[in-house]
Amino acid sequence: MLRNLATLFRYRGLIQSLVARELKARYRGSVLGFFWSFINPLMLLLIYTFVFAYIMEARAEGTDPYALFLFCGILPWTWFSSSLNESAGVLISGGNLIKKVLFPAEVLPIVTVLANMVHFFFGLPILVIFLIYFQAPLSPIELLWFPVIVAVQLVLTLGFALILSALTVHFRDIRDLLANLLTLWFFATPIIYPWQMAPDFGKWFLNVNPFTHLAISYQEVLFFDGPFGHWRWLLALGIFSVAFFLFAYFIFDRLRDTFAEEV
């Protein structure tokens, strides 16, 4: 397994060009092309802001400006959820490669996660514009945590993507299940509401949800005033994510030989 992980490094050129291909192919033929990477999060933001700020005015304390608060959570969530959604089917749709070409299968879910990460990065300039516009209380030291949060999310997402892609080959039901599960997951994460608003019994539940800590970390670093107090949780999640990734890779490796027959 470790040797496989090492050879994965040799495939970085392949991963790189496949990510580039994924991005190029996605908007090929559309009028706005790459701009969709900016427009999509912006539209999402507008919809959520409109719904939660004007229709359902159930705003909690300290989430003003609400649009910015929302954006800090939604942008990384979009990366996470679309990665999971897409990677569930990626081995099946890439079946031709697995069956007909000697091809390291794990490249496919990894490429999915990375391509979505690039989309996430494209959304960041818009976030920056919002941060400046709303004069968010940013501190340079806190901002140093930002790449750490991204790294933890990357490892965690990779773990989920590997495990989901491998299992979906055998249990196609996962694809359908996952779409619903992700909706539930979204609402079970403090993205559209702040952590404090959750009822006490829900807080335990939220703590078990790994994405809670990512969302809180993003919000504390970018949105809330004051020191980044959630870093212990973040580091713990980081360790968990690495362990989870290794576990996921182990599962993937075990199932690897069955892919060519099952997809």
């Binding site: 050129g13 392949l14 060009s17 496949l18 291909r21 190029k24 192919a25 090929r28 033929g29 031709n96 490669l97 697995i98 069956k99 007909k100 070409v101 000697l102 091809f103 299992l167 055998h170 249990f171 599962i251 075990r254 199932l255 030989d257 069955t258 060519a260 027959e261």
Partner: protein, 457 residues
């Protein structure tokens, strides 16, 4: 010399589909360490069974066999795409597998970008591809279209580009699975030239193909796979010969079974009640000949005052069969029975090709034999010294009738045989012939075909 490919006792066993639950539970699937072995397969299918062979460096091995004999699975095992269920497969050096061309192409992006990504997938670096890019495009003959998205390519263009990339990977071991069927004649020749170049440079090639001529011409060794097992391995000519003989034998069986079926259908209706049990589209038996002889399908009719009890087709060695070779002797032996003595009878033979064209027809009367008498059982043999027909399937009419045409027993197209030829000439009839050239017109004889000559196997 060292082995480039070494396969020891390899088997590949597939589960048959139909039972969806492969793992008892997700948990047990994840916890048990032997996922594949613990499945208790209700039905398994061995695509490749106990195969052991080596290919020396620089050798070309041709793999032949019928559909579903495990050729492609074998290739996948060598390519590393599939893992053997038992046994080992060792390959020395970089492998490029031409199994499905352009398998990794993304339809939305241009041919140029696909060449790069496909090349990287096949193990090249970006720099190597840049260096070979022009060569690849030129080989694929796609200079004009290389910047168009691949989804707009014709299937031929798609395959050519896939082939061009795969062949420029510069592998030590090249695996080819029946891909020469793509492209036109010119492209096929180019591919063959490229393979020859590989051979010259001492690369190892494993070729799966149905083109037996290619195996004979091109391979150092051949392997015949049958039902997942190795049947024969060795000299290409010998292996191909054995394979062809086997294919003929099974064709023979099919034709014999078909003939028997046609005759059974006619015999099931007794001559006393003609046309009472008429089944359309089935060989039927009537006392009267059909109105239009040339449009009649298989059937049997006649009064049976003289009965044809059996018809045998005899080959060169005088043995009855259904598959014959062009240029070889051929004979039709008709067995007759006349319960009562008869003096007015003619025996006729008609030979038809698959399209129903009469290739030849004759009878004893036309050839100035005047009937004297027949009683009891007897044989009539119609011999052809050389069966000069082109390759194809032929049907036979055999009849006994009165001089005025009144049928005793008419067997219409009830006997089928196949003519095989190594020369793929066309038409119906192959006159014995020869070519000669003046010294200014030069040819080299390849051993592909022997026009006008009996073929030897």
């Amino acid at each position: 010399m060292t082995n480039a490919i070494e396969i020891v006792n390899a088997s590949k066993i597939y589960q048959r589909y139909g039972h969806r639950r492969q793992f008892a539970t997700l948990k047990s699937a994840l916890l048990s360490r032997s996922l594949v072995r613990d499945l208790n397969p209700t039905e398994t299918f061995a695509a490749v069974k106990n195969v052991t062979f080596n290919v020396l460096k620089g050798q070309t091995l041709g793999v032949i066999g019928r559909n579903g004999s495990g050729k492609s699975t074998l290739l996948k095992l060598v390519a590393g795409i599939a893992k053997p269920t038992t046994g080992t497969v060792k390959v020395d050096g970089r492998v490029s597998a031409l199994i499905e061309l352009g398998a990794g192409f993304h339809p939305e992006i241009s041919g140029r970008e696909n060449v790069f990504i496909n090349g990287i997938m096949l193990g090249l670096t970006k720099r190597e591809i840049t260096r070979r890019f022009d060569e690849i495009v030129e080989f694929a003959e796609l200079e004009e279209f290389i910047d168009a998205p691949v989804k707009n390519y014709s299937s031929g263009m798609y395959m050519r580009l896939g082939f061009a990339v795969a062949i420029h990977v510069d592998p030590d071991v090249l695996l080819v699975d029946e891909v020469l069927a793509v492209g036109d004649e010119g492209f096929t020749h180019k591919c063959l030239d490229k393979f020859s170049e590989f051979k010259r440079r001492g690369k190892t090639i494993l070729l799966v193909t149905h083109s037996l001529g290619l195996v004979e011409k091109f391979c150092d060794e051949a392997l015949w796979m049958d039902a997942g097992r190795m049947k024969v391995q060795g000299d290409p000519k010998r292996v191909v010969g054995a394979y062809v003989t086997d294919v003929e034998r099974s064709e023979e069986q099919q034709l014999a079974a078909g003939d028997a079926k046609a005759r059974d259908a006619t015999i099931s209706v007794s001559p006393d009640e003609p046309s009472s049990a008429v089944l359309p589209d089935h060989p039927i038996e009537t006392a009267e000949a059909p109105a239009d002889m040339f449009r009649a399908t298989e059937g049997r009719w006649g009064s049976r005052e003289i009965e044809i009890t059996a018809v045998e087709l005899l080959g060169a060695d005088g043995i009855a069969g259904h598959v014959f070779h062009t240029g070889q002797p051929f004979a039709v032996r008709v067995k007759l029975r006349a319960p009562v003595e008869m003096d007015d009878f003619v025996i006729g033979i008609g030979l038809f090709n698959a399209e129903g064209v009469c290739c030849y027809g004759t009878n004893t009367s036309l050839e100035a034999f005047k009937s004297v008498r027949v009683l009891g059982n007897g044989d009539v043999t119609f011999s052809i010294e050389r069966l000069d027909l082109v390759e194809g399937t032929y049907k036979l009419d055999v009849a006994v009738h009165k001089l005025d045409g009144y049928p005793y027993d008419y067997h219409r197209l009830l006997y089928t045989f196949r003519v095989k030829s190594r020369t793929k000439d066309v038409g119906i009839y192959r006159p014995a012939h020869a070519w000669s050239f003046s010294p200014t017109v030069q040819f080299v004889k390849t051993d592909d075909a022997e026009p006008g000559e009996p073929t030897e196997r």
